[in-house]
């Protein structure tokens, strides 16, 4: 039987699962609360994948509309944010491929970002954030790393979404991780030192 809609006061305190169940029953206010909670994360992911802010918002809006239409498919096995992030990431990849901005399979991975010297490691006392660090990656590396670590896709799923060979995607991810490790850990040995001292 249909559930009673959640009152406006209770929306903010309701769990995502409760909100998705309400949204599946047609409660738009509940879905609006989900958009309010997770909209920024989805938009940020798309921007990190290389989308311009306006394009990222566009794709994120469409992703939420798709999520609303398919919300009955969401079984709550994972987090709603992860689910809608995957929808958005795949939508961005489709658009990216359609606009043929770059061929992932042909991208050599040699990339010099404007205004950033990828070969130079930041000074030890300056820990730059992820958004800045991602700028040091080539578009393909950035896309592959974001798909795998931001949207939670496996290498195989990313390769399928990008229509690129699995090996190529793995190479992009590895190169991207190396660059990020270098930039996010100024001394370049994040983890190794901890492992050695353990």
């Amino acid at each position: 039987m249909a559930m009673a809609p959640i009152t406006r006061e209770r929306l903010a305190g309701a769990h995502d699962l409760e909100l998705t169940a309400q949204a599946a029953a047609g409660d738009r206010a509940a879905f609006g609360e989900l958009v309010r909670r997770h909209g920024s994360a989805v938009r940020a992911l798309l921007r990190r994948m290389g989308a311009e802010p306006a394009a990222a918002d566009d794709v994120a809006q469409d992703a939420f509309l798709t999520a609303f239409e398919r919300i009955a498919e969401f079984r709550g096995e994972g987090a709603f944010r992860a689910w809608v992030s995957r929808i958005a990431a795949r939508a961005w990849v489709r658009r990216w491929r359609r606009e043929a901005q770059i061929d992932v399979a042909a991208d050599p991975g040699e990339f010099m970002p404007s205004g950033l010297d990828a070969a130079v490691t930041p000074a030890a006392d300056t820990r730059i954030d992820l958004d800045e660090a991602l700028k040091a990656l080539s578009p393909a590396e950035r896309l592959c790393v974001s798909l795998c670590y931001g949207a939670g896709l496996s290498h195989g799923e990313a390769a399928a979404a990008l229509n690129a060979p699995l090996g190529t995607v793995k190479s992009h991810v590895k190169r991207g991780l190396d660059k990020l490790r270098q930039r996010l850990s100024p001394d370049g040995d994040d983890g190794q030192r901890s492992a050695a001292s353990a």
Partner: protein
């Protein structure tokens, strides 16, 4: 989540990958989050309004085509003739109904027909509500 190869480097690689995943998850709240929410809901409403309009227009067009076909085929004349032939039978039925259930009001064919149509519409509404609730 993607994984790196096994071996001596497994611990540091996994640590960094875990940290990277967490950094991706810790997205900052954008200042126009409320505006974004309103835009999504607006698009959602626009989509449903467009669908309703489309369904309405298609229904009206279908009804018009059906009416034209009905008039053009001459079936209405045949239906009128059939109705005239069944008048006597309907009158006998009404007389019997009046003896079984004397309502004290004039029971005509139109009244029965209207009641039947209203009952069908009511059943339709009830069924639609039931399906929605389930």
């Amino acid at each position: 989540m993607a994984t790196m190869g096994s071996g001596a480097r497994q611990v540091p690689d996994n640590r960094f990958e875990f940290r990277l995943g967490r950094m991706f998850a810790e997205a900052p709240a954008l200042p126009d989050a409320e505006l974004f929410r309103l835009r999504v809901l607006e698009k959602l409403d626009r989509g449903w309004t467009a669908r309703r309009l489309l369904i309405g227009v298609m229904g009206a067009a279908g009804g018009l085509v059906g009416a034209v076909q009905l008039v053009g085929s001459g079936d209405l004349g045949a239906l009128a003739a059939l109705s005239a032939r069944s008048d006597a039978y309907a009158q006998r039925l009404l007389d019997q109904f009046a003896t079984v259930a004397p309502l004290g009001v004039p029971v005509a064919g139109e009244v029965l027909l209207t009641a039947a149509v209203l009952a069908i519409i009511g059943a339709g509404f009830g069924l639609a509500r039931l399906i929605r609730d389930i």
